[in-house]
Amino acid sequence: MEQITKIIEFTSEVSILEISYLVASILFILGLKKLSHPATARSGNLWAAAGMGAAILFTILFHKQNGQPIGNILWILVALAIGSFIGWYASIKVKMTAMPQMVSIFNGMGGACAALISLMEFPKMQNAMALAGDAHMLGGEGIAILLGLMIGGVSFAGSMIAFGKLDGRIGDIKHPILRIINLSFLVVLLVALIVILYMQPIENNNLPIYLFALAALIYGVTFVMPIGGADMPVVISLLNSFTGVAAAMGGFLYGNQAMLTGGILVGSSGTILTILMCKAMNRSLLNVIIGAFGVAGAAGTEDGDKTVKEISLSDAAVLLSYSQKVYIVPGYGLAVAQAQHLCHELDNLLSSKGVEVKYAIHPVAGRMPGHMNVLLAEADVPYEKLVEMEDANNEMANTDVVMVIGANDVVNPAAEDDPSSPIYGMPIIKVLDSKNIIVMKRSMAAGYAAIPNNLFYHQKNRMLFGDAKATLQKLVAEIKSL
């Protein structure tokens, strides 16, 4: 009799846990769904967070492995507290311009977590299999552990490099030999994966798995290293989906539905997001990964003597004030200078003079798609003023002045008329269709993708040199005094 009640109690705890995973999975799906609509996005994020909280809480309370409940609870709580505090503090403090780096770090943490799990589960599995006298380690468990380790490791190392690049700590190394090293490492990894699976399990024979982990880390570095800075958003998105798959491998290993659905959802949606980004830049994913960007074609436009026309602050002020329609094309330079608030001030000032001011947002302006929208939203620019590229291009012909602030590649006409240019074919904001162009820029240096821009030499264009913030400040003052 006593035994029967015990069994019922045991199963009811397990069912509560499984129900909590079901609820978590539903909340993840609904959260992602809501995240895709502007009006519901914020609550979607909270729903997903609630699902995560429930899954974590019920795992600690009710999870059992071979009948054993979760131990070391005090240590687990300490680890949760430390992670929560650091994560929360870093997220509160980070500047909106540094957001892509932050996402990259968090992504790397997830990847490292997945890799560590595999690294600890492998010896357990191998010892158990050695005891059972198995001939090899091929099977669902082994595959899940090794793939989790490989993908997680690549994602961790890659994210750290991506962080370094975005933060300007690591430059691009674009040597063709890297591509060969890169490919050979991938081959080595895949071969090693198969070899380990077919190895006979020997107790405490952990050297192969450590070497495998090391190879995954090195591949993560060589994978991201040759990819140009301008492609980092794509890479982060790709690594994001990698981590999703790594998490799903953990779910497969533990037969854990919350990990499985959460991981796969991120893996597949992340892949789609990556492809959407590539499309916005008119590049294939393969092209991005091989890292051909910025090497060729950079020298393709050295023809004739080119003169740059400058515009004075007062001329710019007059031109803007007496226009009917002005488009601002913001780029990362604007954000770096923290000038988005001033930009909004300029826009308010001009609007009060009866000028119609709008912002043309290129899909990849900033460092991540949609990054510019976040930055302008931070400066209280109304949503309706942000016009997507295609709609903005349709209105260019009746625009009096286009002001390009800290943007470069997204307005480079080479994308349309120079087949030798690496960005040829990328959709751009067609500023040349407008009547006047003012490019506000620090110097004549090339943009993030290191491609020269002929727009600067065009007869319609005039340059307004200087730091975006200081120049905007002066421009606002100038317009006020008109």
């Binding site: 974590i56 680890a79 957001m99 949609g370």
Partner: protein, 100 residues
């Protein structure tokens, strides 16, 4: 061939979940406006932090000090991913809401 069939049978529920989740992920995301790409990436970044459950399981059943230490690091990293991811996303989305 027989191995593959056996593998499929053994893990059929999970294979079903994986395949269906792949389609679901694609469906859910495909109509997202470009404005939300960054918050969406950040939000999904937080969701894959669900890997922390695995870290908790490992740590909860750790037998040696070494695996306890590794588990501890894994849980801290997983929590960073979860908490940081959700808070950063919330901060971004807060800005969209403010000017309504």
């Amino acid at each position: 061939m027989e191995e593959i069939l056996k593998f499929f049978l053994e893990y059929k529920e999970m294979i079903f979940i994986i395949i269906l989740s792949i389609f679901l992920g694609i469906e859910v995301i495909s109509h997202v406006p470009a404005v939300l790409h960054t918050p969406l990436m950040s939000g999904s970044n937080a969701i894959h932090g669900v890997v922390i459950i695995g870290a908790i399981i490992v740590m909860g059943h750790a037998e040696s000090t070494l695996s306890l230490i590794f588990g501890f690091i894994a849980v801290v990293m997983g929590t960073l991913n979860v908490v940081g991811g959700f808070v950063v996303t919330d901060r971004m989305l807060e800005m969209f809401k403010k000017k309504k």
